[in-house]
Structures are given as C-alpha cells and as structure tokens.
Amino acid sequence: MSRKPYVRALRWEWLTRHPRYPRYLLRELSCLFIGGWTLMMVWGLARLAQGPEAWAAFLDALRSPASIVLQALALAFAVYHSVTWFNLTPKALPLQLGEDFVADRVISGAHFAVWGLLSLAVLLLAGAF
C-alpha cells in the first residue's frame, strides 16, 4: 500500500493565520475581566454587609492605581464583548418579516440602541450626573 496521508498536528499555529483568530481570542478573554470584576463586586457585597467602615475601605481600595488600570481594562474588554455580542446576535436570532429577513444591521442596531438607553438609565438612576 503506497498511501501515507500526512497529518499536520495543530496546536498554536491557527492563531497566526489571520487577524480574525487573535480577535476571537481577545473576545473570549474578555471573560477574565468581566468575571474578575464581578468577583470584585462579590467582595464589595461582603464589605457592604460588614458595615460602613468596611464599605469605605472597599471604595478606597478601588482608588488604588492598579485597581484603576484594571477597571479601565475591564471596561474596554466589556465594551468589546458587548460590541461583538450584538454584532453576532442577528446570526443567532434572525427575523423574517414576510418574505425578507430583517437586515442584520437593523437587528444589531436595535440592540445597540437599547444598550445605550439602558446604560444611560443606569447612570441616571445611580446618580452619576
């Protein structure tokens, strides 16, 4: 038998084939920041339960330069997550009205609009302005 199919092992190489792959990885790595920040908030809840001093200390801790850098990063990744998520939503949830499908940009556009309004509402309610 002269056949001898050659199998190429795959480990890292795919990440370098096209910019879309590192982009994908970044998208997935947003989970570290969103997850990390959420854990921090659980910690905040604990401090809140412990009383005013603890809470103040927590807010203080937030102010450390390292924390600020981390939060800024987390914000950037969280926004990246939102953008990619809403851009992909029309694929998962297509909408057919009559014969035609609603254009992808309309569906993601609607999500972006809701996202914007919601964020504004939260800021207002939280008294950020």
Partner: protein
C-alpha cells in the same frame, strides 16, 4: 496584453518519495485576469506535470479546488492574482490529512454528512400524482441560503475547533442538517437531533465565526449553528424542566 510573472510557492508531498511536505517555487507568466487555478494549470501543463490538485468547474460551483492561499482557505478558481502581491503561497486545506500535494483526504466530512441525514424526511408523504408540495417564496427563503453549500470544505479549514477536535461534525454538515430542518416540507428534525444536538454536533462550536467569513457561497454556517444551539437548548429545557410535556 498584460503579463506578469507570479512567484508561486506550492506545498508538495508525495507519500512515495517524501517523508514530509516541502515547498517548491515556480515562476509563472500570468495574465492579469487569471485566478490562482489558472497559474497552477500553467505549472501543470508547462513546468511540472507531477503536481496534483483537484479542480473541475472553474466557476466556483463544484467545490473541488479549495486550498490555503496565503494561509487563508480559498477556492483557487475564485482567487484573482490581481488581489495578491509578492510570492503566493499555496497549501492543501488545513485540518485535513494530505493525500498528495494539494489533494486532501476528505473521508471524514463525507462520513459526517451522511450521519446528519441531509435529505428530506417528509412531514406528510405525498404521492407524485398529487403534484408538488406548496411552498411560498417566504418559506423557500427561510432555508434557501443553507442550500447553497458546495461542500468545498473551506469552513472546516477555517474553523479552529474542527482542527482541535476532529470529532466535531463541523460547519457545513451541520448547516445542511439545519437546511432541511428549516424546510417547510420536512418533518425530520427529531431524527437529526440525535446527531446534531450531540456533544460532537453543534456543541463543539465556539462561535469563532471564521466559517462564515471564508464561505465562498455566503452560506453563513455560523448562523446555522447558533440557531441550532438555541433550538436545542429550548428543546432541552422543555423536555427536562417541563417533563409533563413528554408522553
């Protein structure tokens, strides 16, 4: 007539004489409007008749000429030389074993395709004498996009999950299953779910989306797979959270 000499770097592998694949370089005098396939044909006819690759239609419909062109899965008959500068690297499709040169072994896909039952399982059988099923243009449009798959395997070469988890049924076969599920004439979703909602089915997809980016026919397999995931999840919760719905 405009001519340009294109440098092609082609991955060669002959199982009978080579231990592993290696690149060979060819200088090919090309016409401006040529596609990469034309350049390969020129090599085969005039420079090196031992080069092996698949092709037939030269119109992006038979699906045989998929290869990695500058590390991106492409149809050679639809990759215009005018879009490339410098040396063009041509390799067999990633993630598939190399049979020889640019020819890959696609047994895996062929077997998986069969498993997902890509044929109509009628909801209501109908005799030929009773004529055609009625299907409105809207109902047709609901699945039409997913019928356009030419089985070119570009999506498999683009999907890292398929590369990492060879058992994954993969984008094209799953999209074809979804195509029948979405067809108003079909009633076979239950049967197909056995395969496509299994772990090796849609669940190995991490929504990388590369499949849809490289698909030459705009099938959008990524969309098909996410839709299957959502439906399967709804199925699961209906079945487990509301068991009284089951017989």
């Amino acid at each position: 007539m405009s001519e340009r000499v294109v440098e092609l770097e082609v991955l060669r592998y002959n199982p009978e004489t080579d231990r592993e694949p290696h690149f060979r370089r060819y200088s090919v005098p090309c016409r401006e409007e040529w596609v990469v396939l034309d350049a390969l044909n020129h090599v085969k006819e005039n420079i090196d008749p031992t080069l092996s690759y698949r092709w037939s239609c030269h119109m992006a419909v038979c699906g045989s000429c998929g290869m990695m062109i500058n590390r991106e899965p492409k149809l050679a008959c639809k990759s215009f030389l005018r879009d490339y500068q410098g040396v063009i690297r041509v390799e067999p499709l990633a993630h598939f074993p190399i049979e020889r040169d640019l020819v890959t072994v696609i047994d895996d896909f062929v077997a998986k395709l069969k498993r997902v039952k890509p044929y109509l399982i009628p909801k209501q059988p109908k005799a030929l004498e009773d004529g055609e099923y009625r299907q409105t243009p809207a109902q047709l449009k609901r699945y039409k996009q997913f019928t356009l798959c030419i089985n070119c395997m570009l999506c498999y070469a683009a999907c890292p999950e398929y590369g990492l988890i060879p058992k994954f049924i993969g984008p094209a076969a799953l999209s074809l299953a979804h195509r029948y599920n979405q067809d108003s004439r079909d009633g076979g979703r239950e049967e197909r779910q056995q395969e496509i909602a299994a772990t090796e089915g849609v669940w190995e997809c991490a929504f990388v989306g590369a499949c849809s980016e490289v698909c030459p026919e705009h099938v959008d397999p990524a969309a098909a797979l996410q839709q299957v995931k959502i439906k399967s999840t709804v199925d699961w919760y209906l079945e487990h959270a509301m068991p009284w719905l089951n017989k």
